[in-house]
Symmetry: C2
Amino acid sequence: MPARERLLVVALDLFAEHGVSGTSPQMIADRLGVTKAAVHSEFPTMDDLALAVIAPALDRLGEVADEAESQRGHAARVESVLAGVVQLVVDYRKMAATLGFDPVVVRLVRAHPALRDLQRIRRLLGGFAPDPGSRVRMAVIAGGLMMAGADPAVAGLDNEDFHDHLLAAGRRILRG
Amino acid sequence: MPARERLLVVALDLFAEHGVSGTSPQMIADRLGVTKAAVHSEFPTMDDLALAVIAPALDRLGEVADEAESQRGHAARVESVLAGVVQLVVDYRKMAATLGFDPVVVRLVRAHPALRDLQRIRRLLGGFAPDPGSRVRMAVIAGGLMMAGADPAVAGLDNEDFHDHLLAAGRRILRG
């Protein structure tokens, strides 16, 4: 694995264990067996590093929203966005909980262009609907799908099983 | 509000904004307009403070599990534990996301006597069932209920509406 990739993998592990705020360049350097200066030269600030860790997942949000919005009819759009989010959670299983909750990540996403895509996804799932039931269901799905990846109860499942059961759980919440 | 209570309220606000790792005694002192020494004399370490913040919620877990286990039949036990967890999330709406994800809190809970009660609740919700579908549903419910309290989409709902829609969403996931 190239040095930069290894750094991102180690950083994500440490973020999951300690939060972004609780992770220092020195901790990353120690785990990689490199100097702190080497970490700094690749990523001058922890914000730069956190953004680099989450970028691949954020980059996918636009595709998920585009695909869903291209469907005809409300039901097809909801099914499409749910399938897209579930696939994203499975592909970034280890990252999803950090992405959804870590206060530093939340702050970075709020200032990121992908925020618009995230809002489109939330809208498709009912997050801006006038009725409170739809908004609560969206909040439960959003939180539930993202946190499930970090739950020890499902750690042993392979990606295919995890995917199928996650999709089924999402459909249960959303079906009328 | 007594000084200790005010300190706990301010600490929780800061934990939600910055994570426990990202919160310092100085930040708490600044927001309260007291000295750092005053914070230290009440709570010598940040672990002590974090434990004091989450203690009231953790103390309720045992009652929720007891009440559910006293019911006759699987369906009644599941309904009881779901109702208990939903009420807990509503009562500690602002705290639930921090409680469920913050890496420092997760570490503290792992060493806390309430961990046994949490495991009983997870068992009642299917977290140790042999079939992967039950375990994924438990993970989605656990994450979804806890994260929903922090979601801006439901921030405007009063506790009663939030409670009823949260319970309905939980039942949708759990029903066979």
